[in-house]
Amino acid sequence: MIPLSWYLILAAGLFSVGLFGVLARRNAVAILLGVELMLNAVNINLVAFWRYGDISMMAGQVFTIIVFAVAAAEVAVGLALVISVYRRRNTVVAEELDLLKW
């Protein structure tokens, strides 16, 4: 059986990729994608810890499903915002959305 650490390393790699996307990409859609990657990295961790822990305790799987739902809602809201911003400002580049800046 594949040891737990492999899953954790995979999850950490995936999280890092997502984090990089969030911090480095200019496109707001890409930032959202990065956020999704980070959320899924967490899901892998949750599922992995459930599988290697007490299987009868279903909290890990349930939690993962909740994260899916939340992620889906978040993407829906996030994309709607991006579309709205694009309609108003004609751009989806995060750096140019600086209305709150002095």
Partner: protein
């Protein structure tokens, strides 16, 4: 009604008339003068009843009509007011009632009642005449009615109230009240045509000048009250009170208390009766309407001054024993005699018909005052009464002349002709016969035309008294003054009535209406006959035919009945000589004079009344103005007081400035106020760069912080 009740009521009708006219009827001229004349008539009626009851009472001097009430509580005693009619005041009441009634009636005509309203008449100016168109379409200028007709009757009503109050008073307090009411009314009436600056000034002058006298009089009243505790005549004039007052020294100029009080009261008279040196107001008072001149100069106010001295005669003579004059009496005699001669000389050079009479009045009042000063009580009262009649007659006559001249002025339309200047007159005897004959009677009475006229008997009595008691200086002065009196009176009559008219206006002069001539006729009756009630007992031929009623009656007022004088030819011949001589020379000197240049007596010093106005202006008025304008206003007020206040200004200004500059601005504003704001501002400004507004930078930063804090927590706390 008892006589006492009636006396209480005598002064009231004119007061009621005053109130009614002022409050209700001043719009209606006919109603106003009806009320005023009716009120004067009621008072006259009351006065006549009282007078005849007094005359028919036996031993009236010992039992006069007297009634008083407690008025003001003064501790344990009361200040009493009341009425007193003794023989003297009964005689005075008689002439006051007559003259007041005559003057009221005369005013109706004088103010042109029944004439149309003027074309351009203004309130406060004499009427200028009105244009009327007659049946043939011709235009005429006629006299116009006085614009403030009702007001005039209200004022003279109040004036009459003051005079009646004064006459019937039994005490100095109400006498003084009446006195002051008349002072006010004289001010109001002299300044009746208040839009004329000269009338305004004359009113103020009269008021101020008499006020000087009044202040001294009030001092005298206060002194008398503090010395005796009463102001009622009959309580003061008891033998012991007079004896005490006559012997207690007052501590001033070696006078007794009675002497000092008399002199203080006498100064009031000097002001009111226009005696030297307070005579200056009376000639200027001619600015008022002529009935006012008659009112003030004959019937009431100036007589009131003499009447006050007559009232206080027992006090004046308190320490007099029949030979040597006391100091107070000498002062009174000197002032009177001096005024008599002094005013007579001025009258000689005056050309205004009313001014001559004004100075003549001053002079005649001087006669009375001098008579009182030498103790000739009955003679003074006698002259007061006869003078009131003939001087009222003369003033009303001169008003009639002026009125007639104004008629002429309106006829020719030449308003540069002064209707009061005697040199514009002449020949008026044919135009105004009633006025002429009555004026002649009045003038002869004033001159003392022998036997016939009242003035002769009263003036002769004064001269005889002065001679009989050996007061030579007074006798000679008064004789000379009497000569001048006859002289200027004849000058006036000659210039006004005799000869030919000197101006067109005089040619067109016109006799005045019956309301004006009736009083003249009635007064001229008294100007002749009143003298006959006082013919001395020992007078040659006439003496004793008619008993000397006046002497008996009025003399009864005094505690010691005055002796009838021994007859002497010298004063009689003197008064005959001065009267006839004065009249003759007056006629001789002026019968052919046609212009003012031919008048040889127009000395500048006389024309300018010995420069008294100028001297008073220089001595009192200018310094008073200097005191108020320069000393008080400029130096004291603006210099000293404002100067002190101006010091406080800069001091508080400096303190404020210092607080502002050294505390408020640097500490409160800049350090606390601006400083806190600035530091917050700087903090915000310095922190601003980290707020880039870029979400990814915030994320990087929070990640770094997370790592740092996480690292620190891990290595420092957990490891």
């Amino acid at each position: 009604m008892t006589t006492e009740t009636l006396i209480w009521l005598i002064p009231l009708p004119p007061l009621v008339a005053f109130a009614l006219i002022v409050l209700f009827t001043n719009k209606n001229k006919a109603l106003s003068h009806s009320i005023a004349v009716g009120a004067a008539f009621l008072s006259w009626l009351g006065a006549m009843i009282v007078f005849f009851r007094a005359v028919t009472t036996e031993h009236f001097g010992e039992h006069p009509f007297h009634s008083s009430i407690n008025w003001l509580p003064t501790g344990e005693t009361w200040l009493k007011v009341g009425v007193l009619i003794d023989p003297t005041s009964a005689a005075v009441l008689f002439f006051v009632a007559w003259t007041i009634l005559m003057i009221f009636l005369y005013s109706v005509g004088y103010h042109n009642f029944g004439q149309p309203a003027g074309d351009h008449d203004h309130k406060g100016l004499p009427p200028h005449g009105a244009t009327v168109t007659d049946a043939h379409g011709h235009k005429h200028t006629v006299l116009s009615v006085e614009p403030m007709y009702s007001r005039f009757f209200a004022f003279i009503g109040l004036f009459a109230f003051g005079m009646y109050t004064l006459v019937v008073s039994d005490n100095l307090l109400t006498l003084f009240v009446g006195w002051e009411i008349m002072g006010l009314c004289s001010y109001l009436l002299i300044g009746f045509w208040f839009a004329k600056p000269s009338a305004r000034a004359a009113g103020i002058k009269a008021f101020m000048t008499t006020r000087i006298g009044d202040v001294f009089m009030l001092l005298g009243i206060a002194f008398l009250y503090s010395a005796t505790g009463t102001l009622t005549f009959r309580e003061i004039f008891t033998e012991e009170t007079l004896h005490v007052l006559g012997t207690v020294p007052s501590g001033v100029f070696g006078l007794s208390a009675a002497g000092l009080i008399s002199i203080l009261l006498f100064i009031g008279t000097v002001g009111k009766s226009a005696q030297f040196p307070l005579h200056v107001w009376l000639p200027d008072a001619m600015e008022g309407p002529t009935p006012v001149s008659a009112m003030i100069h004959a019937a009431t106010m100036v007589s009131a001054g003499v009447y006050a001295v007559i009232r206080m005669f027992p006090l004046l003579t308190a320490d007099f024993h029949g030979h040597e004059l006391t100091t107070a009496m000498s002062v009174v005699a000197f002032i009177g005699a001096f005024t008599a001669i002094f005013a007579a000389t001025i009258a000689v050079a005056q050309n205004d018909i009313k001014r001559v009479l004004a100075y003549s009045t001053i002079s005649q009042l001087g006669f009375m005052i001098a008579a009182l000063g030498i103790g000739a009580y009955v003679a003074a009262v006698f002259h007061l009464i006869t003078h009131a009649f003939f001087k009222a007659l003369l003033f009303l006559g001169s008003g009639s002349v002026i009125h007639g001249m104004e008629h002429g002025v309106l006829h020719t339309g030449n308003h540069s002709v002064d209707p009061q200047d005697m040199y514009n007159m002449g020949g008026l005897r044919k135009k105004m016969p009633i006025t002429f004959w009555t004026f002649l009677i009045g003038g002869f009475a004033l001159s003392g035309f022998p036997i016939l006229t009242a003035g002769f008997w009263s003036k002769d009595e004064i001269l005889a008294d002065a001679f009989g008691h050996g007061h030579w200086a007074v006798f000679l002065t008064l004789a000379l003054a009497a000569f001048l009196t006859a002289f200027y009176t004849m000058r006036q009559i000659t210039l006004t009535f005799l000869g030919e008219p000197r101006t067109k206006e005089a040619e067109h002069a016109h006799e005045t209406p019956w309301t004006m001539t009736t009083p003249l006729v009635i007064l001229s009756f008294f100007a002749i006959t009143y003298g006959w009630v006082g013919i001395p007992e020992h007078f040659p031929l006439l003496g004793g035919i008619v008993p000397n009623w006046f002497h008996e009656f009025v003399g009864g007022t005094l505690a010691e009945h005055p002796e009838a004088l021994e007859f002497s030819w010298i004063p009689l011949l003197t008064s005959l000589g001065v009267a006839l001589g004065g009249l003759f020379f007056g006629w001789l000197a002026y019968r052919n004079v046609t212009a003012v240049e031919q008048d040889k007596l127009q000395f500048p010093v006389l024309k300018n009344k010995y420069y008294f106005d100028e001297a008073y202006d220089f001595l009192f008025i200018k310094p008073a103005f200097w005191l108020s304008e320069v000393f008080v206003s400029k130096w004291m007020d603006k210099g000293l007081i404002d100067g002190i206040l101006h010091i406080f200004g800069p001091i508080t200004g400096g303190v404020g400035f210092a607080i502002r500059n050294y505390f408020d601005v640097p500490i409160v504003n800049e350090f606390l106020g601006d400083g806190s704001a600035n530091s917050v501002y700087a903090l915000g400004k310095n922190l601003r760069p980290i707020q880039t507004g870029r979400i990814q930078q915030y994320l990087i930063l929070s990640m770094v912080v997370l790592f740092v804090v996480g690292g620190l927590v891990y290595f420092l706390l957990l490891a």
